[in-house]
């Protein structure tokens, strides 16, 4: 049985070219801070990757701070302020929410979009709103929010981890002060990410020591990972047109789900979304059952986000959108990507239809 992987928002398959680049990176010996030729070669690889990552989001290479992943990038951004003082949306990833204590929360409308009217009069410290939500794919009005914060003199951070590569992300146009990105959501290796910061950034590092990343993030640079990140950035930029096909597949999938059960709810379906993400509820069937049944049929999807999927808790994202417990607990996330095919969509629909039929039959029997 060949497997159908439709969990790109958890992690994306690594591009073949990235694997080759990582392989070269592992074979190169040299610490990027060493002054001898092996060190200089390593430094060159890091800086070349930095240019590629910067180019993907239209930033300058000097604005890219490499980190050990998206979580670290988000923490680096959030921990710049007194943790009580930040304002965030309630649908942020845990790596933005958890560093905070009792920071203010914005409201989210039922379509999954942050309500601009909920911005408090009093703002201080930092505002953080993600560019696109990892569970629903709903795109947030970050440019407008950033402009509003700029007028009020408040710093703005956006977690763009799910958005980059799937929609056009232009750092300069967004006008934010900090933006987090991660390699493994782009088909790069796990264990590397970046925080993009504006030229005035003078933040306090989380990791102190050898002075790497211009004193902003200590620790020997993960050469192979960073090189792989660079190649992945280049590839998603080159393959950006593929997202139009992904959107068509996604629409086909949603159409198929509704054809099986017209009562299926697509969360955030009325808002602008990432082209690859479907968050849907099959009324009456809990998410865990759906995920495991599809897994048995060789289709990999998830219930909510991967990090929290080990725990059986209702999605904080769907709750914030006003969903009741029952609808939220039956929500699954199907996320497509660069390598998805119409075959994948068919298999997913078939498996889901089988489950739907099975779960409906006992009730029919009982009625007979």
């Amino acid at each position: 049985m060949t497997n159908t992987y439709l969990d790109y928002n958890a992690t994306a398959p690594v591009w073949r070219e990235v694997v080759e680049a990582v392989s070269r990176g592992l074979a190169a010996s040299g610490n990027a801070s060493s002054v001898h030729s092996a060190g200089r070669a390593a430094r060159h690889m890091v800086e070349e990757a930095r240019e590629k990552v910067a180019a993907l989001v239209n930033a300058k290479p000097g604005q890219v701070i490499f980190t050990g992943g998206g979580t670290e990038a988000n923490n680096l951004a959030m921990r710049q302020v007194d943790l009580g003082g930040a304002t965030v949306s309630p649908i942020e990833h845990d790596s933005v929410l958890k560093p905070l204590g009792q920071g203010a929360r914005l409201r989210v409308r039922s379509d999954g979009v942050v309500d601009l009217k909920s911005i408090p009069e009093q703002l201080d410290g930092l505002v953080s709103v993600m560019l696109a939500n990892n569970e629903t794919g709903v795109v947030q009005p970050v440019k407008k929010l950033a402009e509003l914060c700029r007028k009020r003199g408040v710093a703005f951070h956006t977690d763009a981890i799910q958005a980059v590569g799937k929609i056009s992300v232009d750092w300069r146009d967004l006008g934010v002060q900090m933006m987090s990105i991660s390699a493994h959501k782009l088909g790069g290796p796990q264990g590397v990410g970046a925080l993009i910061v504006d030229d005035t950034w003078n933040g306090r590092p989380l990791l102190e020591g050898g002075g790497q990343e211009r004193g902003r993030r200590a620790g020997t640079e993960n050469i192979a990972g960073i090189v792989g990140f660079g190649v992945a950035a280049e590839l998603v930029q080159k393959n950006f047109d593929a997202m139009a096909d992904v959107r068509a597949l996604r629409d086909m999938l949603e159409h198929g789900l509704r054809a099986i059960d017209p009562t299926v709810i697509i969360h955030g379906g009325k808002a602008e979304r990432l082209p690859n993400t479907v968050c849907a509820s099959m009324p009456g069937v809990d998410a865990e059952t759906q995920v495991l049944s599809l897994d048995l049929a060789g289709v990999m999807i998830s219930a909510g986000s991967a990090c929290s999927s080990g725990k059986v808790t209702t999605s904080h994202v769907l709750k914030a959108m006003g969903l009741d417990e029952a609808s939220a607990s039956s929500a699954i996330r199907i996320s497509l990507g660069w390598h998805s095919t119409s075959d994948d969509v068919e298999k997913c629909l078939t498996a889901w239809r089988d489950l739907y039929t099975r779960t409906r039959r006992p009730q029919a029997t009982a009625a007979e």
């Binding site: 694997v19 050990g68 989380l206 002075g211």
Partner: protein, 393 residues
């Protein structure tokens, strides 16, 4: 680059080449096994989660810890930051003092400086010319306010091995936690957290023929050490270190430590002989060399010496066929001379005339022989050049 013309790599304290066996073990986790180890709903998640746990067992095994006492981090710098800042901040309501040594790695010292800004007191122990701390001074430094003692197992510039078992005994008796930065020790010499009574230990893969970007922090459960995380989020690694784990990197670390465990004793004996021969020949041929640190309490793969009447920058420039360093890699880009060499009492001029040699698993006797030739000739050239300049002036 032409492989034959590649410089001889004797900078294994900065980083080591990845063992091909390690790279091979990692590759499937970039290709078919690419899942997110925290995806609990499907096979792609399960298979990599299992690989991560095997790696955790391999890490634990080498230092005689339990797998649940191992947290994966992005490297030793992160492990050291979490250990020192994390433990201090967790216990700050009750106590406010830490003890470390002046010769620690910058990431330990910088973490301590940050804690001082947060209101903690830190005692920085002196070290002797041999690089060793004085155990009596350690005993005297520990007070009722002390939370943590942090002493590195092996010094990264001069290779000094601290008596961890004795330090551990003192700390356990005084009921303070002991952290050790063992980045340069694990895989090169036996390290046993139970026998040495170590409560927290940082290690990294890329110093022991594994990949960069992965390390681990051992956090003991008996007695239980609590700490405040530096990153929070998805709650991975028992909530102490959030972030998607990189299975390929975890597997690389596990494999690297497994191999080190198998080869450590033999490798150390062979490299010690090569290192000793190198020093004997250098010291016997070239006058005016000063060994930095002790030859007895020294890790087998390290050599560090200063060249009277020369400077490291000119020496390095005269050694194009050799990859060695002056001081540590992290600080080598900066112009300042080594805080470690100053700590063992070197003058600025001698500290700026030092070379650090780090041998490794793939270093051959031939390479050491050729490197020694090059060193002898480079020292003569640099000193000769200096005399000419002096004569001309």
């Amino acid at each position: 680059m032409d492989q034959r013309k590649k410089p001889i790599y004797l900078d294994c304290h900065a980083t080591t080449p990845v063992d091909p066996r390690v790279a091979e073990a990692m590759m499937p986790y970039f290709t078919e096994k690419f899942g997110n180890p925290h995806s609990s709903g499907h096979l792609y998640g399960w298979e990599v989660a299992e690989a991560v746990e095997i790696a955790r067992e391999q890490v634990a095994a080498l230092i005689n810890a339990e797998p649940e006492e191992i947290l994966f981090t992005s490297g030793a710098t992160e492990a050291n930051n979490i250990a020192i800042k994390g433990v201090a901040r967790f216990y700050k309501k009750h106590r406010n003092h830490l003890v470390t040594a002046v010769s620690e790695h910058m990431c330990v010292l910088d973490s301590c400086f940050q804690l001082e800004r947060e209101g903690f007191d830190v005692t920085y122990l002196r070290v002797g010319t041999d690089g060793l701390i004085d155990l009596n001074e350690l005993e005297a430094a520990v007070t009722e306010q002390t939370i943590l003692v942090s002493i590195m197992t092996v010094q990264n510039e001069i290779g000094t091995i601290q008596p961890m078992a004795e330090i551990g005994a003192i700390c356990r008796e005084r009921k303070v936690f002991l952290h050790t930065d063992a980045a340069q020790a694990v895989g090169k010499m036996p390290v046993d957290v139970k026998q040495m009574k170590i409560d927290l230990l940082s290690l990294t893969a890329h110093k022991i023929f594994g990949p960069m970007g992965i390390g681990a922090l051992y956090v003991g459960k008996k007695p239980r050490v609590r700490l405040e995380p530096i990153f929070s989020g998805g709650g991975q690694e028992q909530g102490l270190r959030s972030g998607t784990l990189a299975p390929a990197l975890c597997v690389g670390l596990g494999e690297a430590l497994k191999l080190a465990g198998e080869d450590m004793i033999e490798d150390a004996a062979r490299l010690r002989t090569l290192r000793d021969k190198m020093w004997q020949r250098l010291n016997g041929t070239v006058p005016g060399l000063v060994l930095n640190g002790s030859m007895t309490d020294r890790v087998a793969v390290n050599l560090n010496f200063s060249v009277v009447g020369a400077d490291a920058e000119s020496l390095m420039a005269a050694l194009p066929g050799l990859a060695v360093s002056s001081g540590s890699a992290c600080s080598s880009a900066s112009e300042e001379s080594s805080h470690v060499l100053k700590a063992i009492g070197l003058s600025s001029s001698l500290a700026e005339a030092s070379l650090r040699i780090g041998l490794g698993r793939f270093t051959t006797a031939d390479e050491v022989e050729m490197a020694t030739d090059q060193l002898i000739s480079a020292i003569k050239t640099v000193r000769g050049g200096r005399r000419e300049i002096a004569a001309a002036e």
